[in-house]
C-alpha cells in the first residue's frame, strides 16, 4: 500500500478490490501508529473520515465515481472545514470549529475524496520549519531530529510517511515546495488565481495559493484537476476554461529549453544540493532537453521585498482575530483595549507577532512610501525578469531550498537565517507564477533533496510534463523513509 499511486488506488477502488472504507481505515491505522512520533496531524476524526468513505463507496457502487472517488486525502489546517476544528496552527483558533467548507474542501468533497484529518502547520503559515505551530513541532519522517520544512510541514510529513496518499498545502513564499523538498515528495504551487482562496485562512492575500502535495507529479496532476476552477466567491479567482493537467504528462521532452538562473546556483547553495540538481539537468538532457543559462537579477531582492509585503498584508488579515466573535479570548482583562492586547499577546506566537509588527510598521504613516510602495515596485521588476527569461526558455529549473532539512531548533532563534530558506521559492510567489518541487536525490545523511521547476503563467501542464518524464527515469519519488513501520 505504501507505494501506491493515486491512479492505482482509484483503479483498485473502481475494480472493487478494496472499498474506500477499507482504504481509509488502513491510513487511519497508520496515522494512529505513526502520528504520535511525527505529529503531522492536529485533528484526526476516524468517524467523520469513515462516513465520508462510506459515501464514496455508495458513489462507486452507483457508478457515479470520478477519477479520484474514494481515495482519501489530508487537508492542511488552514482550510475551513465544516464541523472540523480549524486552527491554522494557532492558539488563537485552538477552539474554532469552522461552520463552512473552503472552496478547496468543497472541490475534494465533490470529487468524493474522504478527509483523513487536518495537518499541522506553522502558525498562520508563517514559518519554514513547522516549529511555530502551537500544536508542537512536526518531525521529518526521514529523521525525526530534523524539521519537515514549512509551513505545510504536516502535509509533507504525512505524505512522506505514507500516512496519507495525498495532501493539500498552501504556498505564500514556498510553503508547499520547501517542505515537499525537505520531505522528499512532489508539491505544486499553481499560478496565482487558479485555485480559489475562499475559506483558506489568509496570510498574505496577494501571494497565497493552494496546491497539491503527493509522491509523484502524476498524482499532483490528478489532484490539480480536482481543485482548480473559477470561484465567484474569490474576486482574484481566474475565470478560465477548465484544463486537464494530465494531458501532456507523456509528451517527450525533445526541444525543451530549460532555463538555469545563474543566481540560483551561486553562493549559499549547499554543494550536495547543487550536485543533485546538476545531475537532474543531465537526466533531462538525456531526455532531449537543452539547458540555457538565464538571469533573474532582481530575485536577490525577493526576500526583503517579501518580508515587507507579506507582513503588511498579514498585519491587516490577522486583525480579525480580536477575541470578539470567535477564537481565543484572554480570560481576564480590564477594558476593551486591554482585552485586545491580552488576547492577541496570548493568542499569537512570537513569529506571528513579529510579522504583524513589521507589517504595521511598513504601512504606517511616513514609512509607507519607503517600504510598501518601494517593495511593490521591485515586485514588478522581479516579475519582469521572469517575463524576459521565458523568452529564452520554456521552464526554469533550480534548487528548491539552499540545503536539505536542518535540525529542530537549529534556526528557530535566528529569523533571518530561517527566512533565507525561501530564497529560491519566494520569487515565483511575487510574480504569481506556478512552481513545483520534486525529489532529485539525497544528501550524505539520507535527507531528501528537492528540485524546483518554475513555469510561465498557466504552464502547470508543461511543468508536470517535465516532472513526470523525469520521474519515469528516476525513482527518488518512490522512496519512502525506512523504519517507519
Amino acid at each position: 500500500m505504501s507505494e501506491t499511486s493515486l491512479s492505482t488506488l482509484a483503479a483498485q477502488l473502481a475494480g472493487k478490490q478494496i472499498s474506500s472504507r477499507e482504504l481509509a481505515q488502513q491510513y487511519l491505522d497508520r496515522i494512529a501508529a505513526l502520528n504520535p512520533a511525527i505529529n503531522a496531524f492536529i485533528t484526526v476524526d476516524a468517524e467523520k473520515t469513515l462516513l465520508e468513505a462510506a459515501a464514496a463507496d455508495a458513489l462507486i457502487a452507483a457508478g457515479q465515481a470520478g477519477p479520484l472517488t474514494g481515495v482519501p486525502i489530508a487537508h492542511k489546517d488552514i482550510f475551513c472545514t465544516d464541523g472540523w476544528l480549524t486552527t491554522c496552527g494557532s492558539k488563537m483558533l485552538s477552539n474554532f470549529v469552522a461552520p463552512y467548507d473552503a472552496h478547496v474542501i468543497q472541490r475534494f468533497k465533490a470529487a468524493g475524496m474522504p478527509s483523513l484529518g487536518k495537518t499541522n502547520m506553522d502558525e498562520f503559515a508563517m514559518g519554514s520549519s513547522n516549529e511555530t505551530s502551537y500544536f508542537g513541532t512536526v518531525k521529518n519522517p526521514w529523521n525525526p531530529a530534523y524539521v519537515p520544512g514549512g509551513s505545510s510541514g504536516g502535509a509533507a510529513a504525512c505524505v512522506a510517511a505514507r500516512m496519507a496518499p495525498a495532501a493539500t498545502g498552501t504556498d505564500t513564499g514556498g510553503s508547499i515546495r520547501q517542505p515537499a523538498a525537505l520531505c522528499g515528495i512532489t508539491g505544486l504551487k499553481p499560478t496565482y488565481g487558479l485555485v480559489s482562496r475562499y475559506g483558506m485562512i489568509a496570510f498574505a492575500s496577494s501571494l497565497d495559493q493552494a496546491g497539491p502535495m503527493a509522491p509523484s507529479a502524476e498524482d499532483c496532476a490528478l489532484l490539480l484537476n480536482a481543485m482548480t476552477g473559477f470561484d465567484p466567491k474569490d474576486s482574484t479567482s481566474l475565470d478560465r476554461e477548465k484544463e486537464d493537467y494530465t494531458r501532456d504528462l507523456d509528451k517527450p521532452l525533445a526541444g525543451l529549453r530549460v532555463g538555469l538562473p545563474k543566481e540560483f546556483f551561486a553562493e549559499g547553495l549547499n554543494s550536495e544540493v547543487a550536485a543533485a540538481v546538476e545531475a537532474a539537468v543531465n537526466e533531462l538532457k538525456k531526455l532531449g532537453a537543452t539547458p540555457v543559462e538565464i538571469s533573474l537579477a532582481n530575485s536577490q531582492l525577493a526576500i526583503p521585498v517579501y518580508y515587507v509585503l507579506a507582513p503588511a498584508e498579514a498585519s491587516s488579515n490577522l486583525s480579525r482575530f480580536d477575541g470578539v466573535r470567535y477564537g481565543y479570548r484572554a480570560p481576564e482583562y480590564a477594558s476593551l483595549d486591554d482585552m485586545y492586547c491580552k488576547t492577541r499577546a496570548q493568542g499569537f506566537g512570537a513569529e506571528v507577532k513579529r510579522r504583524i509588527l513589521i507589517g504595521a510598521y511598513v504601512l504606517s504613516h511616513g514609512y509607507y512610501d519607503a517600504y510598501y510602495l518601494q517593495a511593490q515596485k521591485i515586485r514588478r521588476l522581479i516579475a519582469d525578469d521572469f517575463g524576459a527569461a521565458f523568452k529564452a526558455c520554456d521552464v526554469i529549473l533550480g534548487p528548491t531550498a539552499p540545503g536539505t532539512a536542518f535540525k529542530l531548533g537549529e534556526k528557530s532563534d535566528d529569523p533571518v537565517e530561517m527566512y533565507l530558506n525561501d530564497l529560491y521559492t519566494i520569487p515565483a510567489n511575487l510574480a504569481g507564477l506556478p512552481g513545483m518541487s520534486l525529489p532529485c536525490g539525497f544528501d550524505a545523511q539520507g535527507l531528501p533533496i528537492g528540485l524546483q521547476l518554475v513555469g510561465n503563467y498557466f504552464s502547470e501542464a508543461k511543468m508536470l510534463n517535465v516532472a513526470h518524464q523525469y520521474q519515469r527515469v528516476t525513482d527518488w519519488h518512490t522512496r519512502a523513509p525506512e523504519g517507519l513501520k
Binding site: 475551513c80 463552512y100 473552503a102 475562499y198 483558506m200 482574484t236
Partner: protein, 475 residues
Amino acid sequence: MKWETVIGLEVHTQLATKSKIFSGSSTAFGAAPNTQASAVDIALPGVLPVLNRGAVECAIKFALAIGANLNRVNVFDRKNYFYPDLPKGYQISQLAKPIVEGGALKIQVGDSERTINLTRAHMEEDAGKSLHEDFHGMTGIDLNRAGTPLLEIVSEPEMRSSAEAVAYARALHTLVTWIGICDGNMQEGSFRVDANVSVRPVGQAEFGTRREIKNLNSFRFLQQAIDYEVRWQIETLEDGGRIEQATVLFDPDTGETRMMRSKEDAHDYRYFPDPDLLPVRLDEDWIEAVRATLPELPAAMQARFQRDYGVSAYDAAVLTGSRALADYFEAAAKACGQGKLAANWVMGELSAALNKAELDIAQSPVSAARLGTLIARIQDGTLSGKLARQVFEGLWEGAGEVDAIIEARGLKQMSDSGELEKIVDEVLAANPKSVEEFRSGKEKAFNALVGQVMKASRGKANPAQVNELLKAKLQ
C-alpha cells in the same frame, strides 16, 4: 474683528442596494440583531469580499448627475483600526483612487444661487452597531449594518454660513433620493452629515484650524451645531485662545458641541490597497448603460417647468424639492392644463394640509388626478376659489370624486343667470340705502352689495357674474 465662517461637508449616504457591498446579505433596516450577517459580514476566517456591482452603479449615477469625473480605474483600500463592531479590523474604503472626483451642486439660499464644488465621492462599507444599553456592563454587537454600502460625498470648503451648509445638504439629499441611490431616511442613518467648520478673519486667505462635527442626522441639528461651533470658535479666538484640530460631537439636548478626540489621538489607519479585490474598471458601455437609467434631473426639470407651465424660477425650485413632489405637480398640471394654478394649489392648500398632518407628498390623501380635476372645475367656472377649498376638504376626507362632492354637498357655483338675477333684484330691493350711496359715488357701497348677493346665494354665485349683473342693474 469680523469673522468669516468656512464649512465643508462630508456626507455618508447609504446606497439603496438590496444586498451588501461585499456579500449577499440583505441591507433591509430593522431586522433582529445579527440576522442579516453572513460569514463574510462577521469576518469568519477565510472569507473574501466580492463587490456588488449595484453599489458601483449608484456611484456612477451620482457622478453623472453632478457632472463629476468617473475614475475609469478606481481602487479599494483597507482602513485599519480595531473596534468591536468592525469585524475584520479594517474597513474597506477608497483613499487614493476614489470612483468619483469633482462635480458641483447648485444651491439656493434666499434669492441667491451658488454653486458648491465637490472634492470626491468614494464607496465604502458601513460598520456594525455597538449597543451599550440593556447589557449590564457589557456591549452588544449588531452586525446587520456591517457591510452596508455607503457613498461618502466630500464637498470643497466653500460654504460660508450654516444656511448655506443646510442648503447644500438639502440639495444633496434631494439629488441622491431623486436619482434613487439613497432612500434619504435620516432617522435610520441613511444620510449622515459630518461638518468641518473653521473661522478666519475676513480677508485672510488661509483657512483657520477646523474642527469636525460628526454624525449629524437632521438638517436642524446641522444648523444648530454649526451655529454653536462658530460662536464657540469666535469666542475662543477673541478670548485669546487657539483652536486645536479635533473631532467633536453635537449634543441636541444641550445644543452644544463637545470634544470626542483631539488630533493627537488620531489613528494611523495604515491604508493600503485591498489585495482581496481587483481594481474596479469602468468601461464606456457600462457608464452609458447606467446613464440611460437616470431620470430627468432637478435642474433640467426646473427649466422645463418654467418653460412648459409658466411657473416662476422660485416656484420651479420648490416644486422640484423632491421627485415625488415634482411628479405630483406635473400630473396635476397635466390633468387640468393649468400650470400656474396647479403650482399655487400644490404649494399652497395641499402643502399646508400635508404639513399640518405631517404627511409626505407620497402619502397625500388627495391624488394628483383629483387635484387636477378640482382645478379644472375652477377654470370652467363650476367652482369659485372659496367653493374649491370646500371641495378640497372633501377630497382630503376621502369623500370621493370631485364632481360627486360638488353634487352631494351642493357646492356648484350658480350658473343659471335667471336665478342669480332674481337674487340680485331682491338684494337691490332690500338695500335701498346702499344703492343710494353707490349712486352718489361711494364705491364701497358696491362691495357691500356684492357681499349681500354672495351671502344670499350661500356662496355659490360666480363673483364675476355678480359684479357684471350689479353694474348693469345700477347704471
